[in-house]
Symmetry: C2
Subunit: 407 residues, 2 copies
């Protein structure tokens, strides 16, 4: 008998008809002899409706109360799913974060899970009950309701799968799995049957919207096998697993694209120790997360520093950077939101060379100018002009023959 955790997102429980279908799917897994735990997000649109109410009250709602408010979305969903299961004759019980002590830190609206009380769930499973658990929410040590931020239900699912030592954590979504790239941009994109945690992490943080990166980190740490699949079909999806040798045989597993960043350049920065920390210390204090940073070797005691940040934080960042720029007596500050970051990801890059050369050459042939480059062990990212984003994705997909991928 296996223990399966199934997570259904907001679109999978978007209306009563879909909730009934989810219940049917859960029952199938139960009928196959599994112990089943279901994690549910709020019905599609509900979280936005609640946020709308808060913003009608005040522009800057109390974050503690915000979490009290939006966590009701999942509560409604678990009650309805449990009702649907019970009405079909399958014993089920809903649980809130507080009821199974999903403890988190005290950072409202983006809390991190610290632990889960597995015993309470196992007790129910042993009685043959299906446990239906609210995603996205927990409680801090004072008993306040916290939420995990958008996409947090994935993390709930993985944390619970880890605590229960589940055989699999199935993430049901509205796509068939993880693709070599976005099929909307590149029709040749292929579904991957397996990716490693490391690759999935890079893809998640690089803009593939399938899984929240926190949930992948958690799964990697606790070795939880994730199965990303469609709630509308019975097809196998993509397994996210520990890297193995076979995975390394494939050079590149995917191409991602992110158009939500902006770049900021500070020119003629005096090349002295402590300057970089002055700049990025100030940016970080303003709660702006910096992604890529490029600093060229200096010429005549000066250097240019370029970095990328989320577009939504550009205004805030520019204020800070302009102030610091004057303090350190730099030349000036320029910014550009009209950029895209395309990335090539694959664990095979560790043991194969020539990936960068092949990528640059492919982009070069189409006349796409590369503005910034950044690499990690299993990733190569290039910042280019936004208008070339889709073309770059298709060109790179072809250059690495991903339409023939066998993963």
């Amino acid at each position: 008998m296996a223990l399966i955790v199934q997570k259904y997102g907001g679109s999978s429980v978007g209306d009563i008809e879909r909730i009934r279908k989810v219940a049917q799917r859960v029952i199938e897994a139960k009928k196959e002899g599994n112990q089943v735990v279901v994690i549910v997000s709020a019905m599609a649109g509900e979280t936005d409706r609640l946020i709308g109410l808060a913003h009608q009250i005040t522009e800057m709602p109390s974050e503690r109360e915000f979490d009290v408010l939006v966590s009701t979305g999942e509560q409604v969903a678990i009650a309805l799913i449990a009702m649907a299961l019970e009405s079909q004759g399958y014993p089920a019980r809903s649980f809130l974060g507080a009821q199974i002590r999903i403890t988190t830190d005290g950072v409202f609206t983006k809390a991190r899970i610290l632990g889960v009380e597995a015993e309470r769930i196992l007790e129910e499973l042993e009685k043959g009950t299906i446990a239906v658990i609210a995603g996205f929410q927990g409680i801090d040590e004072e008993g306040n309701i916290t939420t995990l931020g958008r996409g947090g239900s994935d993390t709930t699912a993985v944390a619970i799968a880890a605590a229960l030592k589940a055989n699999a954590c199935e993430i049901y979504t509205d796509v068939e799995g993880v693709y070599t790239t976005d099929p909307a941009i590149c029709p040749e994109a292929r579904k991957l049957s397996r990716v490693s945690y490391e690759e999935m992490l890079e893809m998640a943080s690089l803009g593939a919207k399938v899984l929240q990166s926190r949930s992948v980190e958690f799964a990697m740490k606790h070795r939880v096998p994730i199965h990303v699949r469609s709630s509308f079909s019975q097809e196998e999806g993509t397994w996210v697993l520990k890297e193995d040798e076979k995975m390394e045989e494939v050079l590149v597993s995917g191409i991602t694209c992110d158009k939500k960043e902006a770049k900021v350049t500070i020119s003629k920065v005096p090349d002295k120790p402590g300057i970089a920390s002055k700049i990025f210390g100030a940016v970080s204090e303003a709660n702006v997360v910096v992604d890529m940073i490029i600093q060229n070797v200096s010429a005549e005691g000066y250097t240019d520093v370029t970095f990328t940040i989320p577009q939504t934080d550009l205004k805030k960042a520019l204020e800070v950077v302009r102030r610091v720029s004057q303090e350190i007596d730099a030349g000036g500050v320029e910014s550009d939101s009209n950029i895209a970051k395309v990335s090539v990801v694959g664990v095979g890059m560790r043991s194969h060379s020539g990936v960068a050369a092949r990528a640059f050459s492919a982009l070069g042939k189409e006349g796409i100018n590369i503005m910034m480059i950044s690499t990690s062990e299993i990733k190569l990212s290039c910042v280019i002009e936004a208008k070339y984003a889709e073309l770059a994705v298709r060109v790179l997909h072809e250059a690495f023959e991903l339409e023939k991928t066998k993963r």
Copy 2:
């Protein structure tokens, strides 16, 4: 410094504009130097919306999950009120039933409050925080969410006022207070400034919809002064208090009317010991609550038994009664939904005689036939034909000169 509990019903928090007004009112009480605890119901319509979702899933939803579902209504309301207070610069904190351990028995959908953890609330009040508490909900000893049934937020308010030894429990509603009778039926109706717990209990259970009877019982037991008043005006409303001598000087304090009962008559019942218990035992097992019971002295070894029950239970009751009637070899069973119960209530009746005579004479003058009579120390009820209900109310109101009431 006084400690005030304020309870706002669903219509008082029906939309964002009204929620803002409630916050304003709470702030006024705070500014006057009081410690303030606010109890809130779900926004008007929300509970019905949630019940609708449940019934789309299944006709007979799991009662445990039903409570998980509908309790979200109050959760949304407390978060919004607390946000509104905080946005005006007044520290506030919302609390769910579970967070301040409003413990109840385990009867889902109509649980009874057993206790409240006052310390947690007092701690916040002493810091100057306004506590905003979800009405209608609690948890049983296993930590399951329970709800108290319609109108349960009144009981929450009184229970919390009792636990905190509050100076007053203000119940905000859409009427100005408790009236001598329904002003929609009798334009001469007058607002009472004071009624006793006993009178309010009779009025509540007789059909005056101002307060849930459970909440009045609770207030009576713990001597909580209730102030029923309008959330749309600053007028004093009606105080519900321990009876005092002055109250007894007034013969009758109110006339109520209930058109939601039906009567059932079993004719030619053999007059033997144990027969009544057979009949009412069976009715009670079917979970039907009997109100009035009349049995005349027997003639020739037979008697007729008549009783009243809620109209909504009539079908269920008739099935049971017809079966029992055959078992005990009675003559037959008849029923009538076309009735109304009008009642005269007043603590003064204890020390004054002649109330019944005056009531019968007033009804008789208008040719209104009395089908059943029932009395208690402070109440006289008559069952009449439904079509005379409003007329009877006006006639009795006049007969006892309630338009001149000085309470």
